[in-house]
Subunit: 127 residues, 3 copies
């Protein structure tokens, strides 16, 4: 499962970069911790980080289940789409919250496929 391990680490590196962008946006837009609101552009960076956190919690277990039960190369490929999708989500959302759809779809759909595929594979393995 080396490929799945590499995709896991890359998706987490991307998330840490998003978190560091939030820290940078705190300084630039004058939103001191512990506040998480106060400037609309800061709030977009913060929502990108939180939404990515929400998806990662599903993505990582789903990636490993799919890699184990269905196909490791397909898991890694879908994981790569997820990572690119998250980057597009960041770039779109920061420009305009309405422009987040393409990036959202490109990261949400791989998670759905990984999760449903992993569930299907585990159910088939049990019976």
């Amino acid at each position: 499962m080396h490929m799945v391990a590499i995709v896991t680490a890359l998706s987490l590196l991307e998330f840490m970069a998003f978190a560091m962008l939030v820290g940078w946006a705190r300084g630039k837009y004058g939103v001191a911790a512990p506040a998480t609101a106060g400037h609309p552009v800061f709030e977009r960076y913060y929502r990108v980080q939180m939404n990515t956190l929400e998806l990662l919690v599903v993505f990582i277990p789903a990636l490993w289940l799919f890699g184990h039960y269905v196909s490791e190369p397909w898991a890694a490929g879908l994981g790569g789409v997820f990572i690119v999708g998250r980057l597009l989500y960041l770039l779109g959302y920061v420009k305009d919250p309405k422009k987040r759809e393409l990036g959202f779809g490109l990261s949400f759909l791989p998670v759905v496929v990984l999760l449903l595929g992993g569930l299907y594979g585990a159910v088939r393995a049990l019976f």
Copy 2:
């Protein structure tokens, strides 16, 4: 560990349904992204999602540790209680934040048992 894998996937599917409910509540109660406040009922859906996220981060590793070190069928059973408890938590919280206690207990207690049991099993395996 097929049963534990299935419970993992089902708990993540439930979480994705909660996240989609938040998106739906954004439209219904007029709370445009990136805001996460502005209407009391929307805020309940949002808190259900966030609280479930917080618990999932503990639940999934604890489920696997308990399944590995203690008992897989018990892990799957406690995981099933967690999933039902989260559903009751959603239904109670949205009706009235004070009515979230039963669902909270039914999902919090399984997590505590899985985590302490998993820790105990890992310590025993080491010595």
Copy 3:
């Protein structure tokens, strides 16, 4: 991987303690759910929990990747530093948000080392 399993469980126990502190701070500072703002000291406890959640999502997979691909005792040791760092982060942040730096560094740096080391190990294993 018993040591890594124990460190995983201990870090999750610490996170659950942080979450219970937020519940206690709700009562003490009069911030009823679903609100997450309203009193500056409550907001510090809440940010400690959220920031720990964000780091845990990276920490746990990184801990296992490092333990698997690089060194289990080093993974467990870095994990122990993370747990102590999070405790210092809590104690510093609640006293004064500006005093959170030492604890932040002591928990952020181990995560970076675990993640980059795990990635390096997985890439080396693939080639």
